[in-house]
Point group: C2
Chain length 318, copies 2
C-alpha cells in the first residue's frame, strides 16, 4: 500500500488545490510514462479547459524565454497565476546557458504564483508531444490562469505542440530572414500574433515592412494579425503584447471559434495519441520479431520494395 499522502487520489486533490509540488510530481509521472500519471490526468481532466493557453514559437535565439519571462512578470502584477512549459532545447528554461536569462527566471522560480517546467526534446517527438499535452492539462487543472507553451521551429515540426494553444504567438527578431521566407513560402502557418523582439536593432523597420507585406496577402476579414515591437529584456512592448494576446482570446471567444479550435485541437490530439501508440507497437515488433527482421533484410537486399514490406508488416501485427 502507498503511504498516506502519496496515493493518486491525494495527489489529484493537492494538484487541484494548486499545490506546486503536486503539479511537479504529476508532470514527472507523465514524463516517465508512469501509468499513475495517466490515471491522474484522467481524474483531473474534467477540471481542465479554464486556462488561457498561449503558444510561443520562433527560431532559436530570438528571445522567446525573455519575452515569456517579461509576460509572466506582467501577468503576476495582475495577480494571475502562470505556468510555463518549455520544449525548446535551446531555451534557458531547458538547458540554461545560451541566452543568459537565468536571473530573470530564477526570480520567477521563487514565486509561488509561477510554475516553470521544461521538457527534453531529443528522441521521439511523438512521445514528447504526448507528454507535453498531458503536462499542459495538469497545469490547467492546477488552476493556472495563463499557460505559456514555448517551442522552437521554422517549419512544420512544432505543429502538434502548438496545436494545444488557443493563441499562437510567433516571435521574430530583425535579421531572422529565414522566418519571413518561411511565412512567405507558406511553410509556416500564419500565427495569431507576431512580435518582433530586439526591436532596437536598425533593421527592425525593414523587417516590419516585410512582415506587413506577407500579412497583406492573407485574408482581409476576421482576425487581423497584430504586429508588436518589443524589447523584452527592457520590458518594452510587453504591455501591448499582453493586450494583443487578450484581444485575440476575446475575439475567438466572441466569434465562437475558441470552442471550434479546441475541438479541432482535441481531435488532433486523440488521433496523434492513438497513432503514436500504433507506431510504437510497430517499432517494438521490428526490434523483437524475427519475421519482421527477415522482411527488412529482403528490403535491404532490394528483393522486396518498402511499400509491400509495409503491407506485410501490418499483416504480421497481432
Amino acid at each position: 500500500m502507498a503511504a498516506p499522502g502519496r496515493t493518486a487520489a491525494d495527489l489529484a486533490e493537492r494538484l487541484l488545490a494548486g499545490d506546486k509540488r503536486a503539479l511537479a510530481r504529476a508532470i514527472t509521472l507523465v514524463e516517465n510514462d508512469d501509468p499513475e500519471g495517466w490515471d491522474l490526468v484522467r481524474e483531473v481532466y474534467p477540471h481542465t479547459g479554464r486556462a488561457a493557453m498561449v503558444g510561443f514559437t520562433g527560431p532559436p535565439g530570438v528571445g522567446k524565454s525573455t519575452l515569456i519571462g517579461a509576460l509572466t512578470a506582467h501577468a503576476r502584477k495582475a495577480d494571475r497565476e502562470v505556468a510555463v512549459l518549455s520544449i525548446d532545447p535551446s531555451s534557458p528554461f531547458t538547458k540554461g546557458a545560451l541566452l543568459g536569462d537565468r536571473i530573470r527566471l530564477t526570480e520567477h522560480f521563487l514565486d509561488a504564483g509561477v510554475f516553470i517546467r521544461s521538457m527534453a526534446t531529443r528522441g521521439s517527438l511523438g512521445g514528447l508531444s504526448e507528454a507535453t499535452l498531458q503536462a499542459a492539462l495538469l497545469m490547467d487543472a492546477s488552476g493556472r490562469d495563463d499557460i505559456f507553451l514555448e517551442t522552437v521551429g521554422i517549419g512544420q515540426a512544432e505543429v502538434d505542440i502548438i496545436d494545444h494553444a488557443d493563441t499562437v504567438v510567433l516571435v521574430l527578431m530583425p535579421g531572422a530572414g529565414d522566418s519571413i521566407q518561411a511565412l512567405k513560402a507558406g511553410v509556416m502557418e500564419i500565427p495569431d500574433v507576431i512580435v518582433v523582439n530586439k526591436s532596437d536593432h536598425p533593421l527592425t523597420d525593414t523587417m516590419i515592412r516585410e512582415i506587413r507585406g506577407v500579412l497583406s496577402l492573407g485574408p482581409q476579414e476576421g482576425w487581423q494579425v497584430p504586429l508588436v515591437r518589443a524589447e523584452a529584456s527592457r520590458g518594452e512592448g510587453i504591455e501591448e503584447l499582453s493586450e494583443r494576446i487578450a484581444a485575440h482570446r476575446a475575439h475567438i471567444e466572441e466569434e465562437g471559434t475558441l470552442s471550434e479550435r479546441r475541438r479541432r485541437n482535441l481531435m488532433n490530439e486523440v488521433v496523434a495519441l492513438a497513432a503514436n501508440r500504433l507506431r510504437r507497437r510497430l517499432e517494438e515488433s521490428i526490434r523483437e520479431d524475427e519475421g519482421v527482421q527477415e522482411l527488412l533484410d529482403e528490403v535491404v537486399a532490394r528483393r522486396l520494395d518498402p511499400a509491400t514490406a509495409a503491407t506485410r508488416l501490418l499483416e504480421l501485427q497481432p
Copy 2:
C-alpha cells in the same frame, strides 16, 4: 484492356531503359496514389540502389535551387545523368516566382540527361513523404547517376525526406543566423556537408567562423564536415562542392557506413509507410464512424480525457 504500349510492364520497361516520359508518368501515378504506381515501384525496385542520392536542406531563400542547377550543369559535363526532386514549397522548381531562377532551370528542362520534378508539400506530410520515397526510387531505377533531393526547413520536419539521402548537404547564407542557432541548439542534425552560398556577402567570414565553432563541438574523429563557400549564381564553389559530396560518398563506401545508412533509411521508411497507413485508417474512422464521433464529443465536454479516448479509439478499430 489497356492499349498496347500502356501496360504496366511496358511502362516499367521504358522506365528502366531511361525514358523520361515513362519516368514522369510513373511519378504521377505514385503521386496520385494510383495502385498501378505502387505495382510499378514493386517491379522496378530490384533495379534501385545504384544512384547517388544527395539531399539538400536549408532555410528558404538561401539559393538551394540555384546551387542544384549549377551542380546539375557540373554533373552533365562529366556525362552524368541527373534527376532533381524538389519538395520545397518556395523553390522555383515547385512554384516558380520566388527566386527568379527559371532561366537556369529551363535550360536543364530541355536536356534529355536531366529530369526535374517537384512535389507539392501542403496537406499531409506523411503522404508527401511516401510519394517522395517512391518517386526517388523510380528515378533511381531509371538509371540516373545523381539524384538531388531538395527540401526546406530548420527543425525536424524535413527529417524523413532527408532520410532517403546518402549525403545530406545543408545550404546556408550569410545572415541566416536562425540556422546557426538551430545547429548550436541541437534542433538540427549535423549534416555531411555545409555550403555557405551567396558568399560575396560581407558577413560570410563571421558566418564561417560561427559554423566552425559549432562543428568544433562535434566528434573529432571520422568524417569531418567540410565547409564550402559558394556563389552559385556565378558557378563559384560548385567544383569544390561537387568534390566534397563525392568525397563523402567515397568515405561512407569505404567505411561501410553507406550500406548501414541505407539499411537504417529503409527500415525507417518501412515503419513510416506502415505508420502512415494506420494513421490514415484512424482518420477515416473518425470521419465516418458514429461511435468515434461520440467519443470525441465526450472529450470536448471534458468528460473523457484524450489518452483514454485514444485507447478506446484503438479498441473500436476493426
